[in-house]
């Protein structure tokens, strides 16, 4: 009963956050940078930031996560971090030999006024960046946005700083991955291949954070979008941004720089969002949807029909990141379930807009909130006031699930106590089927657990 501290009565709090449903920007920038091949993320701040981000990513993926730090001291904080960053860039290229260093800022370096654009330019001018190597940057102060916007900022930096427009169009489509797992990125690539559409996916953490055991510690695993691929995105015919918060800003930057038109889609989580993704990609790519994909879809619909009676009206509370929550909410409605409480710590109006579009017609009474005050404490209070049948969210949800004795599915970031998210996708029709299986498993397990002897059923 760890959460006996949660009171039922919801009171307005003055700025205080209890049990956050978000974390800070830099970790998102670090994660995004790991999706470029041969890239070493660099944290321009205190040593602790880098250490915490690496530890959290390592706990989530159970993989080594490499990143360097400027190791700020008191001196740097008074005189500015330029000397630290210049020294760091030199050291990193000499010792760790990455192709790219992706620098992100922190609350500390932003507050003292370090200008990453200026410092990284100086590094280039001073000859500290070897021929053919790159330094990119993103501004990610921890007191703005969340890990999700930090991811978006780094992806924008990647698009903006690598894309080149040669004037000759390439018959390829950019897909900008919103914050999703390596398994999801792998699945997006598989779907595009099956459709027969040539894509450049970025960032791409597959084969980076789901690397096989090889007997070696690969400092730069084989995955990640390559520099030539990233340079070519300026010549692509179109961009699809998967997620309005974590992916769209990069698409906008790319359109501005290289005039590549873009469309923003929800992440393809669940049936309808995947439909939109497949339809859009096939239309832009000028291909028809192959039978295999149609059959995958059919299987998902088939299972929904088979099991509908166990899903109908089940109340769900969910928390996590906006780009996942929006299509997930839609999927729950498609499953005839009832999302009743939704919380995301990430601020921004796009969340509310996305949720309104889905909920207004189908479930106007759903509680949802994002940004300041939208933390797990609030969600827990809501759950106490209107109990639910299922909770979906990251590992920290386990406390609420235990406290309220509610079935729980781990979904989102971070997942610190289970495996699978790196290997089995949530996107696409097969991802939808996996999610559905998980939902059914916990609901039916619960039904079995609670069944009276005479109602304990063999066939369900």
């Amino acid at each position: 009963m760890l959460l006996r501290h949660t009171s039922k009565e919801v009171k307005e709090r003055e700025g205080l956050t209890i049990n956050p449903a978000k974390t800070c920007q830099p970790i998102g920038a670090m994660y995004a940078a790991l999706g470029i091949h041969g890239c070493l993320p660099h944290s321009h701040g205190s040593q602790g930031c880098c250490s915490y981000h690496r530890s959290t990513l390592t706990r989530h993926y159970k993989e080594p996560v490499m990143a360097a730090t400027s190791s700020f001291t008191e001196g740097a904080s008074v005189f500015g971090g330029q000397a630290n960053l210049l020294a760091a860039i030199e050291t990193i290229f000499a010792v760790y030999e990455p192709d790219i260093i992706a620098v992100h800022s922190t609350c500390l370096s932003e507050t003292i006024g370090d200008d990453l654009q200026q410092i990284t330019r100086k590094a280039k001018d001073d000859g500290k960046v070897p021929e053919g190597k790159h330094v990119i940057f993103a501004s990610t102060p921890s007191f703005i946005g969340s890990h999700v916007t930090g991811y978006a900022n780094m992806v924008t930096g990647i698009a903006d700083q690598f894309a080149v427009s040669t004037g000759a169009k390439k018959n390829q489509i950019n897909i900008i991955a919103g914050w999703m797992e390596p398994s999801d990125m792998r699945e997006i690539k598989r779907l595009a291949k099956e459709l027969g559409v040539k894509i450049v996916l970025f960032p791409d953490t597959s084969d980076v954070l789901d690397a096989p055991q090889t007997g070696k510690h690969e400092f730069y695993p084989k995955g990640g979008t390559t520099v030539p691929e990233l340079q070519s995105i300026g010549d692509s015919i179109h961009t699809l941004a998967l997620g309005s918060i974590s992916a769209e800003p990069a698409a906008i930057a790319l359109e501005k720089k290289c005039k590549v038109p873009f469309e923003t889609l929800d992440m393809p989580i669940g049936l309808t969002a995947t439909d939109r993704f497949i339809m859009t990609l096939s239309q832009i790519g000028g291909v028809s949807v192959p039978d295999e994909i149609t059959a995958d879809r059919g299987r998902l619909v088939d299972v929904i029909a088979d099991m509908e009676q166990y899903l109908y009206g089940k109340k769900v509370a969910l928390f996590g990141d906006p780009d996942q929550l929006i299509p997930l909410t839609e999927f729950l409605l498609d499953l005839n379930m009832k999302p009743v409480h939704i919380v995301s710590g990430t601020p921004g109006q796009r969340f509310e807009k996305g949720m309104r579009e889905i909920l207004d017609a189908r479930s106007p009474e759903t509680n949802f909130k994002n940004g300041i005050g939208a933390d797990m404490f609030l969600l827990h209070q809501w759950m106490k006031n209107e109990p639910v049948d299922l909770l979906i969210g990251n590992t920290y949800g386990k406390y609420m699930a235990r406290d309220e004795d509610v079935p729980f599915i781990r979904f989102g970031f971070p997942i610190l106590d289970r495996i699978g998210h790196s290997y089995f996708p949530n996107v696409g029709y097969s991802g939808g089927l996996r999610l559905l299986e998980k939902i059914l498993n916990v609901l039916l397990d619960r039904q079995d657990r609670d069944a009276l002897e005479e109602k304990f059923e063999l066939v369900m």
């Binding site: 009171s7 003055e14 209890i18 602790g48 915490y52 530890s55 730090t69 921890s142």
Partner: protein, 453 residues
């Protein structure tokens, strides 16, 4: 042996033990080099891990959300009662707060929280940014303490103001303000405080029981399963028993100076050091021979049970090699001895925060050819592990997957241990964990140490 490339500027923090060769003192106690992939954390982290186990206190992180989010219940410091420490409280500073200051937010947050949870005391951690925007934490804490009547203690843990060790010190500083404020009435002359034991997986309970069996009163544990009231009367104990030297020696020295309480350094890992930590305490009370008798009794009973059970592990592990890279150096000493007692040798020994004396002692203890490192990084660790053909790595969260990728066993001797490794039972658990990991059948399927099967 192929020369190992070491980061320029790091040569002084790495050396290989060779007798007959003049060797420089290791350079430590320095900040990490800019641009290194350091395994270290910051000042805030140091403070947070030391104070975190005080279970009936409010822990409020004053700063942007990350610092609170990353330290939310990540350390298995178990409490036998209240669990307020396992929640995450943050002022979640926003851009406007950075511009206009966060004092008001801090004040309101504290008032709200203290009213709601009625904690025995509150610790307020400053993070990097608070040090820059100039919030007067002291003043806010004083005001809130006055209004609420509980101790409200600022912890000056701005991340950039030193290393993790400075964070330990900041935490001890806050504890020092509590110590001496409680009544010492009724405390036995034969009493101790257990310092630097954080009750990971319930380890403090095991240690406490041994001492209690000896007839010793444990006044407080700092900070494992910690309670504010116990901390406040800690000055009534006759002796401070300090483990995890890095984090708590400063506090012990302060208490010695202020309250005249002597201290001894101990370690609860391995049979040898565990036994010594009981005997050393007993020796402190020479007028009571029964305490020493009881200590001998405890050791004899425990060892009688433990020793035979270790033999099967020893048989399997004999001749295997270990690499150690942990937070504090003191732990490394015990681990070397503990590993030797199950037939293993140590080929790499290092720590994040050891000092000169620690490394001198380490050098003395290690076998010829052992590599000794301060504040290492993954490249170095991987290289040494491969070149020295280690079969096991002992480390923390960031090192675990590196070991597994290399195809060697791993034992977490840091925050994420799930079973107690302290005490006699802990030695059994340790040996079992090492045995399980090193001898795991999974390594049959893995190309070991970079060599194709």
């Amino acid at each position: 042996m192929e020369q190992i490339t070491i980061l320029e500027g790091r040569q002084k923090q790495v050396f290989e033990k060779k007798t007959g060769v003049e060797q420089l003192d290791i350079s430590c106690d320095t900040s990490s080099l800019s641009g290194s992939v350091s395994q270290r954390a910051c000042v805030f982290c140091g403070s947070r891990v030391v104070l975190y186990p005080v279970a009936d206190a409010l822990h409020l992180v004053h700063g942007p959300i990350g610092c609170a989010a990353y330290t939310w219940d990540i350390r298995g410091a178990v409490s036998s009662g209240p669990e307020l420490h396992r929640l995450s409280f943050s002022t979640d500073l926003q851009e406007m707060d950075v511009i206009y200051g966060g004092e008001k937010k801090l004040y309101h947050s504290l008032i709200e929280l203290i009213e709601k949870y009625k904690p025995k005391a509150a610790f307020i951690y400053s993070t990097c940014i608070v040090g820059l925007i100039g919030d007067d934490i002291e003043a806010v804490c004083k005001k809130v303490a006055k209004e609420t009547g509980i101790p409200v203690l600022p912890v000056h843990s701005e991340g950039f103001k030193g290393t993790k060790k400075d964070g330990y010190k900041a935490a001890c500083h806050a504890l020092m303000k509590l110590i001496g404020t409680g009544s010492t009435e009724g405390i036995s002359k034969y009493s101790i405080n257990i310092l630097g034991e954080f009750n990971l997986a319930g380890e403090a309970w095991i240690i406490r029981k041994y001492y209690e069996k000896m007839g010793i009163e444990v006044v407080s544990t700092l900070t494992g399963d910690g309670r504010i009231d116990a901390v406040r009367r800690a000055h009534g104990a006759s002796l401070n028993v300090v483990q995890c030297s890095g984090s708590m020696t400063w506090l012990a020295k302060e208490m010695e100076q202020k309250y005249g309480i002597p201290f001894i350094r101990v370690s609860y890992f391995g049979i040898e050091d565990m036994s010594k930590s009981l005997y050393d305490v007993a020796k402190h009370f020479p007028d009571r021979t029964d305490i020493m008798e009881a200590a001998k009794q405890v050791v004899s009973e425990e060892v009688k049970e433990l020793y035979p059970s270790l033999q099967k592990f020893k048989k399997a592990l004999s001749g295997k090699k270990a690499a150690i890279y942990v937070g504090g150096a003191f732990k490394t000493f015990s681990l070397i001895k503990a590993l030797r007692s199950i037939g293993m040798s140590v080929v790499l020994a290092g720590s994040q925060t050891g000092n000169k004396d620690d490394y001198a002692r380490l050098k003395e203890m290690c076998d010829e050819g052992t590599v000794i490192v301060d504040d290492s990084n993954p490249v170095e660790l991987s290289k040494f592990i491969l070149e020295k053909e280690a079969d096991l790595l002992i480390g923390g969260v960031k090192e675990r997957p590196i070991a597994f990728k290399l195809g060697i066993g791993f034992c977490d001797h840091n925050h994420e241990r799930k079973i107690p490794l302290a005490g006699f039972i802990g030695m059994y658990n340790f040996a079992l964990e090492v045995y399980q990991s090193v001898m795991s059948p999974v390594w049959q399927f893995a190309p070991r140490k970079g060599v194709k099967v």
